[in-house]
Symmetry: C2
Subunit: 185 residues, 2 copies
DNA sequence: CTGTAGTGGAACACAGGTGTTCCATCGCGG
DNA sequence: CCGCGATGGAACACCTGTGTTCCACTACAG
């Protein structure tokens, strides 16, 4: 048997993508707006996601997958802890509007349990190799990373003049300094 | 003539305070919830604020005053730019749940126009005296400050074990490092 | 005691989002 | 051509929040 007809998958994906984009700007946006953004009738949206909660669940799954993909691209096991953290920072930054969505969550419910601990392990590696200030607890560094990612993303959105590359440069610079601690040159 | 009877002011203030606390946790919370939190009937709330927008305006004014008061306490004209920025950071941190509220704004609509430019002047002073990395634009430093304040506040809220003092210490340390730049020891 | 300020509750109409049903349309393969 | 999958629109009932009105209660000053 064929897997569900292909066109269904495309429509479904369009709805989820639109939902991520709109929910990032307004977590309370209506299903009608999402349907319109996905260029789909509200009826069709309900055909794919019976209740609002079903769509939210699909958005969470999609978001989780994108985060996982970004973390894989960052090759967290390479280099010093701080280097790995900055690579992850760059990959996450590419996730765009998803950042707003993750950041507005109850904080921590966003990452898969496994990735959270993986990331903490990276930071502890940074503590050990001297690239991350040992005084900073891993979960503090993580919340610092997320808040700066969100700040960078909204900074970019509010200043039409700023280039993506320039903002990414500011972001990595400040994160690197914040994490490095007072000792290094 | 006596100014409006005193009890009115108390009730009004209770409503605004409750609104700030609840809106920080849920920007879309209902007037009924706010009235309940203020231990006031919904009818009474409408007696003070005819429309939702009126309450929001009062919240904005109250928030603006608290921010102004905090900025005054920080004595921004003393010391190096970075020192002034860190004092402001400490004062703002004491504002508590108001931080979430300010941070969820369209960013920048929160501060009075004057304070925004005052703060930018402080940062430029930091550029000049070498205490703040001149590569970082003033508005970037400001958004960095707010995002870290928000992160610190929610970090404190989610970890019942963490002491306010300890979190404030982490906050000032990371902000100081992020802003100082790569050159200093 | 009486009037008044402040309040709370019940009830109402209204608006908007939600979830559902029903029907019409379009494209495509048999 | 016919049927089927996919869609869109209209209409509906429902729920929640909002803004308003009306009435009853309490505290307190004159």
């Amino acid at each position: 048997m064929r897997v569900t007809s292909g066109i269904r998958n495309r429509t479904r994906q369009a709805i989820v993508d639109a939902a991520i984009t709109l929910l990032a700007g307004n977590p309370a946006c209506s299903l009608g707006e999402i349907a319109a953004a996905a260029e789909v009738g509200r009826t069709t949206l309900h055909r794919y996601f019976a209740e609002r909660a079903d769509l939210m669940a699909a958005v969470a799954v999609e978001g989780g997958e994108r985060l996982t993909r970004a973390a894989r691209l960052a090759e967290l096991d390479k280099g010093t802890g701080a280097e790995a953290l900055l690579r992850l920072c760059r990959e996450y930054f590419d996730l765009g509007s998803l950042l707003s969505l993750v950041f507005s969550e109850p904080e921590g419910a966003c990452l898969d349990e496994g990735e959270q601990t993986d990331l903490e392990a990276v930071i502890r590696r940074g503590h050990a190799d001297g690239s991350i200030d040992p005084v900073l607890p891993p979960d503090w560094v993580i919340s610092l990373l997320w808040s700066q990612l969100y700040a960078a993303w909204s900074y970019l959105g509010e200043r039409p003049g700023a280039s993506r590359h320039h903002v990414l440069d500011l972001l990595t610079r400040t994160v690197a300094n914040a994490v490095r601690g007072p000792g290094a040159i």
